[in-house]
């Protein structure tokens, strides 16, 4: 195997192994930990793809900063909107009876 290809092949194998791992753990009843492991595995997989396939490790630092900027902005959306949901005492009113929602056909 050519030297440049080795890391690519290894990454691919690792990705498939991680896929098997997350598919398998999903069937073990662990409560919220299921979602957490699923996401953790996804993060590892994503890092592998980004770092090896997308050459982030070898690439210019600017590229890493760009990727981070995207992630950071997303994190802001989740954090601050989440802060509202986490601290809101929502008093749900009864659901609207379907009859109060007049059927509309959208824009003509």
């Amino acid at each position: 195997m050519e030297r440049g290809i080795r890391p690519l092949v290894l990454t691919w194998l690792a990705l498939l192994a991680l896929l098997a791992l997350s598919a398998a753990t999903a069937w073990i009843p662990l409560g919220w930990i299921n979602t957490a492991t699923g996401l953790a595995v996804a993060v590892v997989k994503a890092l592998l793809v980004a770092v090896v396939f997308m050459r982030l490790r070898a690439g210019h630092p600017l590229l890493r900063m760009t990727a981070l900027a995207g992630l950071a902005t997303m994190a802001l959306l989740f954090l601050l909107s989440g802060a509202d949901y986490a601290t809101r005492t929502e008093a749900p009113a009864p659901w609207q009876q379907p009859s109060t929602v007049a059927p509309r056909l959208g824009s003509r």
């Binding site: 749900p92 009113a93 009864p94 609207q96 009876q97 109060t100």
Partner: protein, 316 residues
Amino acid sequence: MSVPFHLLPADGAQSATRLDSLALCLLLLTGAVALILLVMMVVFCVRYRAASPANRAGAREKDLGLEVAWTLIPLLLFLGLYAWGAVDYAALYKPDPAATPVFVVAKQWMWKAEHRNGRREVGELHLPLGRPVRLVLTSQDVIHSFFVPDFRIKQDAVPGRYTSIGFTPSKAGEYRLYCAEFCGTEHAMMTGKIVVQPPSEFARWLAEGPRQPGMAQRGFALFRRYGCSGCHAAGSSVHAPDLTNLLGRRVHLQDGRELVADEAYVRDAILVPRKDVVAGYEAIMPSFAGQIGEEDLLAIIEYIRESGHDERAERP
């Protein structure tokens, strides 16, 4: 005919005065800053106009000390303003146990209100002078906003949930009520009148008018009709908690949480019973979501509240 004209809204509620002082303070501060800036700009523009022979020696391109100063000083002032605004804001939303709840339901394009004894009104709201009031708002269709400039309060009425805001009317009289969130064609016509009366007059007003069964009374009837009493009545064979005196009581939940039962909790208990299961009971209570209308729900809650206030209240 003289054109009515006021520059400032009247002070119709206790919080209004506080709020005006915040506004005044901000006005003075920002006014002073704006004025200083304006004066400096004008002075510089005149003194250093191209034709002026003024001395320009020693002009600097930067001055770290100065710049840090005019970064930090506004920052500190801002923190103060922030704190003031935040404290007053929190006060509007802190539930006051002594406050009289008034239920307001908005719909395109009118305001409906219901008092605790069941007296209802449309497009008007009567309130007692000097008593803390807590509005509980919801909407049947789109978002509306309950706005009384003379009280300096505004709160959106959001469909699907309750929002609330508290205040204390401080002056008898009539005030304008507006809808402040755009809600469709007649948004501008969705106005109303707030009538603040001395408590005795208000009590008289409450008592007269179209007599409907009191809210709690109606709630009691509904409590039977929806079959709640089947499980929750004292003599029921189903193992379900006693609801007497529930509001304000500390409740222990199955998952270990502990909370104080308020309206929100009771609503949840009725609509999404599986969300907060009471410790020691099975989650067998069916959800009544989509079955109990929103006014009925308020009535049932009122009934549960009353049953606590008054032990003589009819017990199922």
